[in-house]
């Protein structure tokens, strides 16, 4: 079977849209439709992952499309790895939703699955988009269902408050993004990211314009603000703690990983393709270095004083955004590899942490740190998964987070623009972050709780948490393949060295330590 890489994302979105519409129809029939919805969406996500893997292996003909074509989509390694990561998170969340909402009055879980699949379609199209129009439409396809998901517990004032705050800030981010796009259109008269970069040099399409640099910089600012709001980088982070704390915890898992990862792919395309033409090449190293330092420092230090577990995880999400931005600041193939690799690991680590916390919070009825006391004696899987994912987020050596942080810090040390100070700040921040990650573990295993009754762990949660933990440990023990994929993705933007050379270099550095 041959599928043109220009149309591959459409097949993907088509299948998932079919699943979503079927679930919508289901929601008006039968009482037990929620299990059918769960099965359908799980099957849909699994099918989509298989579909992407087969396409990446060249099973449907051409693996990548020509980026300079006028296609709406860029089907390349960046799209593949981000697509699989996002679908995996959606799968993990989908497995837990029936159990999570089982005792919430006034919710229809079947609708939850429909919205989950719709927002996943949006994230996938956003990852694949190579055209500013497609990017904006996909951006909204991702955002609009996620507002509803955030406010899904409609009788719960906290959930509603989170939805209002998320909606206002996120709607503003898309408006700002739209304004930036309109300025780029003024300069080039084109909307395709890979063609704009060639039109930028003679970007005087509008009469009377003699100097386009200020408008280009203004557009870049709008793009950075629009993406920054979704990425949770610091000057744009105000909504994160409230939204993640108030939203249903499994939705926080989705927002903090799938949305962030899906925003990162087009952000990299815009920065490293659109804004890197020969005549207009702004130097953003310092800007992103400062954003990165602010995000890391604020995220990690604010998390130290929090009492609520979901709020700690929300600040951790801000801190991790800081690490991811190190790679963007350092640039080069190594920096991008580090960023891609870290965001893939981050997707499993953070979603596993939120999902494990969701199970515990649902059972003890509070997200206060003290109510986590002695949980280790009352359930088996959830505290174990939470511990693993928190240690991985903190960067403990045998787990996945260590490797990606290692590549990121290395890229800062080896950057041509002298970013050693950034790497040192990041290492100090890593040590600070261990304090609050380990504090949750201490509350779960060492502190005495009020109650010792066993809690119920349902199969959906168990399956989801064990799958996520297995990925975290597996990547930690054998990181080679993921690093290779990340290098391959970074090569779409700049090809300095091949993936085998990079791995040899990493192995050499590790050996000499």
């Amino acid at each position: 079977m041959y599928i043109s890489p220009d149309q591959f994302p459409l097949y993907l979105a088509g299948v998932l849209a079919g699943v979503a519409l079927t679930i919508v129809l289901l929601s008006v029939t039968g009482k037990r439709s929620k299990y059918i919805a769960m099965g359908l969406s799980t099957a849909g996500f699994a099918f989509a992952i298989t579909f992407i893997v087969l396409q990446a292996l060249g099973y449907f003909g051409t693996v990548q499309n020509n980026p300079t074509s006028s296609s709406l989509f860029a089907t390349d390694w960046v799209s593949y790895i981000f697509g699989v990561a996002v679908l995996l998170v959606a799968l993990l969340v989908g497995l837990t939703a029936v159990d999570y909402f089982s005792d919430v009055i006034g919710t229809d879980v079947t609708t939850f699955y429909a919205l989950l699949v719709f927002t996943t379609i949006g994230t996938l199209l956003l990852i694949f988009s190579a055209n500013l129009l497609m990017m904006f439409v996909a951006w909204e396809m991702m955002s609009i269902p996620s507002y509803v998901l955030t406010g899904f517990k409609k009788k719960d004032p906290a959930s509603n408050e989170a939805a209002v705050k998320y909606f206002v800030i996120s709607a503003f981010s898309s408006a700002v993004l739209l304004y930036g796009i309109s300025l780029i259109y003024l300069l080039t008269g084109n909307l395709s990211i890979y063609q704009i970069v060639r039109l930028m040099p003679n970007g005087m399409t509008v009469s009377g314009m003699t100097n386009f640099q200020p408008i280009g910089l203004l557009a870049l600012t709008f793009f950075v603000a629009g993406f920054g709001i979704k990425l949770a980088a610091v000057p744009f982070h105000m909504w994160i703690p409230d939204a993640y704390q108030g939203a249903p915890t499994i939705v926080s898992a989705l927002l903090s990983t799938a949305t962030k990862g899906a925003t990162f792919a087009p952000a990299i395309r815009v920065l490293f393709v659109m804004f890197s033409s020969s005549t207009f090449q702004p130097d953003w190293t310092l800007t992103f270095a400062v954003l990165s330092v602010l995000s890391m420092t604020l995220g990690n230090f604010a998390a130290l004083t929090q009492k609520s577990v979901t709020r700690i995880l929300a600040y951790s999400s801000i801190g991790q955004a800081g690490y991811i931005l190190i790679g963007v600041a350092a640039g080069g193939q190594l920096g991008l590899t580090g960023s891609f690799f870290h965001i893939l690991n981050y997707a499993t680590m953070q979603s596993c942490a939120f999902l494990a916390a969701a199970l515990i919070i649902k059972n003890v009825g509070s997200d206060n740190l003290d109510s986590f006391n002695g949980i280790g004696k009352r359930v088996a899987v959830a505290p174990m998964a939470l511990t693993l994912s928190l240690l991985a987020l903190g960067g403990f050596p045998p787990l996945s987070g260590f490797w990606s942080k290692f590549v990121l810090f290395l890229s800062a040390f080896q950057s041509t623009s002298n970013l050693s100070w950034l790497a040192i700040v990041a290492i100090i921040n890593s040590f600070v972050s261990i304090a609050f990650y380990v504090r949750i573990v201490k509350h779960m295993y060492l502190d005495e709780g009020n109650s010792t009754t066993k809690l119920v762990e349902t199969n959906g949660f168990k399956a989801s948490l064990i799958l996520a933990s297995a990925i975290i440990v597996g990547t930690g023990i054998y990181p080679g393949p993921l690093i290779e994929f990340a290098t391959e993705a970074a090569r779409s933007f700049m090809s300095e060295i091949s993936s085998t050379q990079l791995i040899e270099r990493l192995a050499f550095i590790l050996h000499s330590l």
Binding site: L132, L133, F136, V137, E140, S143, I144, Y147, V148, G151, K154, K155, P157, A158, N160, E161, A162, A163, V164, K165, F167, V168, A171, F172, S174, A175, V176, L178, Y179, I181, S182, L183, Y185, L186, G189, N190, L191, T205, V206, S207, G208, P241, D242, Q245, G246, S308
Partner: protein
């Protein structure tokens, strides 16, 4: 033909009004209006720029974009209003500064 410069001035003023509304008001409905004003400023840009960039552009893609963004803004406003209605039912007001259920 009205010079392009005038369109840019109007759109900049609209953008400024939107951002002002967003940072100064607390009423969720007003915030929604402010966001819509910013979106419309961008739409005005897109439509005006298409008219002036027609010589080199590969078709009226800017005006197409404006149509898409008008439709999407409507969808976004519908969802936003639904959320605000729920807020009103739960709290009897829609002031985001008075929403303090989650601790800061």
């Amino acid at each position: 033909m009205v010079p392009l410069f005038y369109y840019i001035i109007v759109s900049t003023i609209l953008f400024a009004i939107g951002v002002y509304g967003l940072v100064s008001k607390g009423n969720a409905l007003r915030l929604l209006f402010a966001v819509e004003i910013v979106i419309n400023a961008a739409n005005l840009n897109l439509v005006a720029f298409t008219r002036y960039a027609m010589q080199t552009a590969t078709g009226p893609s800017g005006q197409t974009f404006a149509l898409f963004s008008i439709a999407i803004a409507a969808a976004e406003a519908a969802v936003g209003l639904a959320i605000i209605v729920v807020t009103f039912r739960l709290n009897k007001n829609v002031d985001v500064f008075k929403l303090r259920k989650l601790k800061n």
